[in-house]
Amino acid sequence: MSIEKEIIVKEIISVGAEAALIRGEMWDNDVVFKLRYPKPYRDKNLDEHLRRTRTSYEAKLIGEAKLKGIPVPSILYVDPFNGLLVLEYIKGKKLKERLEGLDSSSSRKIFKDIGRYVGILHSGGIVHGDLTTSNIVITKDNRVFFIDFGLGEFSNELEKQGVDVHLMLRALESTHPTMVSSLFKAFVEGYKSVRGEEWSNKILAKIEEIRLRGRYVSRRRRVRKSFY
């Protein structure tokens, strides 16, 4: 089957380091084409291998998330050999852009939802890998959608799930500094409602550890004054 005939390309949304995002239509649906285009700088076999495995892995993550009831775009078509993933287009705006215009009770409600969904993802052993306010879409009626599982992975490790939540906190701190404490509190509330006190507190302790360890701390290492 030649897929080209089924596709209408409308506009290029972005050309990232990993893939190009293109808006268009397929089988009468508004869609986003996520194309992991070939990279001329690496061995052809390696390039094909990376694009193929990453495309199908991302599709698996999205599929698993959907089965657990997480709002994610539907997958219309996957062609791992060409690095192509065709996803439902979610009508809405990035959370990053919407946040400033929302009143505090709706934004808290949104973050509680996000926390709950991330809790469900983590319970099911799915780590999103890039939880920022750019990768969450908010619809007109304030429903949440998770997009871009390109850096995600299947894992139950405390470390990886901690990094996931830490990234959300970091994203809030860097892009929405005035709202951090109330929004993150709402997030944790939602997260706890799924994962319980014990695990959630472990995650919070992990975040503290990550902060001290990371290169976000100017002097992460013990500075020892060496003798002459």
């Binding site: 380091a17 690496r42 100017s218 060496s226």
Partner: protein
């Protein structure tokens, strides 16, 4: 401050070097001697012994090359870290002595910052994304708000170390990277290797272990293993560089450090830069490996901005990270 001339001393690892350079980027001398082990790897104590032996002649030769006397020098720059303690102490001792004897200010220089500054001087780029790859470091760097920041780095061994150790294991000696590349060019077949990119960071230790395992098993040609090893390591690095480039929206990429002499890596970075409409240049090969000139030049920039350290406070700093250093000369 007007143009200053600084004498810089490098002794963080296997190279002992003395360079003389001005703050406007003229290199008057760049004299370096590298320790080459008779067999095995680099032992810090043996390197330090080597540095102590060659230090006086390297110093004299640098002054002769530059055809100046100590009176013409405005300051003494010393790479206080990061590096190996025994090696660092040799250079630091000489620098403190020169500073006291000739009453010249002592200027602390971070070795990694020096690699970055010499790359900017050599490529002419003003605000590039910098790829720093050597036997001791693998980092993607850019200047943001008063400091050089790290946008990705190795989580275990550096790329140059990965190739050097592999070369040593197959009996090729140091420096191993060019020799592994020679074999890699003759390789024809890509054998699957662990490709480990974690977000912006890299890991090479599993790759090294796997390549050595394939070698011992003997099912593949050495050339093919070298090709696959080099291809995987460089592709990982270029992928992370590409992410940094898009994320920071930079238009220039500079390659620096010992591995900057690599044609294969330069070729990959050129192709990647073209994809995003960016320019790529490697540092001049003379300044790729560790050298005294880069310490002198960076020291000159620092002295102009008033950066100095007293002899009493001039501790060596083996773990000194580049993102801990304020850069007052960029405004």
């Amino acid at each position: 401050m007007d143009r200053v001339i600084v004498l810089g001393i490098e002794s963080t690892a296997h190279t002992f070097g003395v360079g003389i350079a001005s703050s406007d980027g003229e290199v008057l001398a760049n004299v370096n001697r590298s320790y080459v082990p008779i067999s095995g790897g680099l032992h810090p104590r043996e390197m330090a012994e080597h540095h102590s032996k060659v230090a006086p002649e390297v110093f004299r030769e640098a002054l002769e090359k530059a055809q100046i006397s100590m009176d013409d020098v405005d300051g003494i720059a010393i790479a206080l870290g990061p590096g190996m303690g025994p090696c660092l102490r040799v250079g630091a001792t000489l620098a403190r002595y020169l500073s006291l004897k000739f009453s010249k200010p002592l200027i602390p220089v971070n070795h990694a910052v020096a690699h970055v500054e010499i790359a900017k001087l050599s490529t002419g780029f003003k605000d590039p994304l910098i790829v720093y790859v050597a036997g001791g470091n693998t980092m993607i760097i850019a200047f943001v708000k008063g400091r050089y920041r790290v946008f990705g780095e190795t989580l275990d061994i550096p790329l140059g170390n990965c190739l050097d150790v592999f070369a040593r294991e197959i009996g090729l000696g140091l420096p191993g990277t060019p020799k592994v590349e020679e074999l890699a060019i003759k390789g024809e077949r890509y054998v699957e290797m662990p490709y480990v990119v974690k977000g912006q960071d890299l890991s090479f230790s599993g790759l090294l272990t796997h390549a050595l395992k394939l070698l011992r098993e003997g099912n593949y040609k050495l050339e093919d293993i070298c090709y696959s090893l080099v291809e995987t390591a460089y592709s990982m690095l270029v992928e992370v560089t590409e992410r940094g480039l898009v994320h920071l929206n930079k238009k220039e990429i500079a390659l620096t450090g010992g591995v900057a002499r690599s044609k294969l890596l330069a070729d990959k970075l050129t192709k990647m830069a073209a994809l995003h409409g960016a320019m790529f240049k490697p540092v001049n090969p003379e300044y790729a490996g560790d050298n005294g000139a880069m310490i002198a030049y960076t020291g000159a920039l620092a002295l102009q901005s008033g950066v100095e350290v007293s002899v009493e406070e001039s501790f060596i700093r083996p773990l000194w990270r580049l993102d801990e250093v304020d850069i007052p000369w960029i405004t």
